[in-house]
Amino acid sequence: MLAIDVKDLRKQFKVQKNREGLSGALKDLFKREYNEVTAVKDISFQIPQGEICGYIGENGAGKSTTIKMLTGILVPTAGHIKVNGYVPYKDREQFVGGIGVVFGQRSQLWWDIGVIESFQLLRKVYRVSEADFRKRLDNLVERLQLGDLLNRPVRKLSLGQRMRCELVASLLHNPSILFLDEPTIGLDIVVKTEIRDFLLEMNREHGTTILLTTHDLQDIEALCSRVIMLDDGRIIYDGGLDDLKSRWSKGREIQFQFAGHTPLAKLQQLTEELAVTWSLENDVTAKMWLPHEVNVSDALSKVVAGTEIRDIKIFETNTDDIVRSIYSSGSAEVSKETSGQ
């Protein structure tokens, strides 16, 4: 069954145009002009149950707007959405009982009261029975190590502690879909890892579908089997992470450190038959760039045969670089041409 089914989803905002200067402000007072801004442009995607899907894109690409439509906060301008079998904005009150939402930048908990009191209140709001609540809370508290935090007021928690509490708060009613909007923003690496492990475990044990937006691509690498990439309101990539990597990373780079001075000409001559390119870093160091078609061991054996080598380093293009280059080109289409070569 599909957890999320989105078809031709669009959201337009009317944005007031502010004219410049005092005279502009006066004109605005009497006659306003509006710009139609389309934040999400007819996107379609489907997420089956039990999948962890990363939703990435630059700031302002329309990620949050999509998440807000999926959670029923915003009403779409056009298109169809079905999440968990509901149209989110229509049957909102029933629908939200089956989902969990964490907005990394906004707290769900009550600022002044103890964490446990917030949880108790949420228990009432979500109509969770006392027994279920106890069982789930004990479990979550143990896994996320919240034991001694429960009686502290939220305002006295660190960001990492608060974030773990937010996660618990969003899971108390055992939702089948979890929406996370930048869940690891501003957290240190220990807490990040802890949260990632926890999410993976939950996905494995309960089959919880997770859709998360993030700017941290390590989140994606650690968690997601699938990535949807958004740019300027359109989906520019939808597929596996490995697929994205192999399509976009055009090759690898190998750095050699030689025993003595090795001229560029000699290196180029050694690897004549292969489609590699060389660049000298300094007298004894050179970098060889080789596309995917070229076998690493072939290239290495050629170089090793003709030179004396002190050290070798291989650089794989990482996801950050890939995503950066996709963002800057504004489309993942280019990758098809490259891979087709």
Binding site: I73, F103, Q105, R106, D112, I113, L121, V125
Partner: protein
Amino acid sequence: MRYAELFWEYLKNYAKTRLTYRADFWIEVLSDLLFQGMNLIFILIVFQHTPSLGGWSEAEVVFVYGFFMIPFGIFSTFFSIWNFSERYIVKGEMDRVLTRPAHNLYQVLLENVDPPSLIGSFVGAVIMVICWTQLGLPFHVMDIVMLLVFVIGAVLIYAGLYTALSALSFYSDAPTGIVPLMYNIQNYGRYPVNIYNKMIRFVLTWLLPFAFVGVIPASYFLEQKADDLSRLAWFTPIMGIIVFGLGLAFWNNGVKRYRGAGS
């Protein structure tokens, strides 16, 4: 039933957070009472210059004011959403409210309950009782029932108008200055409406029916006047249901236009 339970839970949380700041609590009670006291003193000063106002005696006008304080106190307790636009729209806290399974207006109201305002209602009731005896009005058991019906109707009128006002921020970009304006208009409803000209009277009775929160239902208990406002008293609960219904519909429609804030 579930909503009543939720109300109780939120109230407990209110108590936990607010009662820790005891001074703050009492200052609020005191400032509320001072505010009401000033209004009352204004009435007393007016009556130092004239024995009657459009056929209404001092005790009667004070009686009306006492009645007004009861629904107003209840309204202020449950509809303390003056900062709705700032907190929920501009800062985007409505996001959180909308992802929870209870009616969004109800949640917003519960998050802002302000029980100290109820003290105003008690003071109002005391004022009513004092004037009641002073005026030597007859007392029937039915009066209690009618008082309850009128108070509920009046609270609904206020609730509907202010729900609609708060919902305006869903439609308009910036918070508007209309709330203070409304706050001033509502004060006119406490005085006998026949002292105003026809236009204002019509507005206060049928368009912004603040007269139904004060003078009209209160006149039911007083001696009949020439223009017999008390005939209209029966409309109080009906007006309440209509106004609140419209306010709620306007709100629900507004929620659909909510645009969220920031990222």
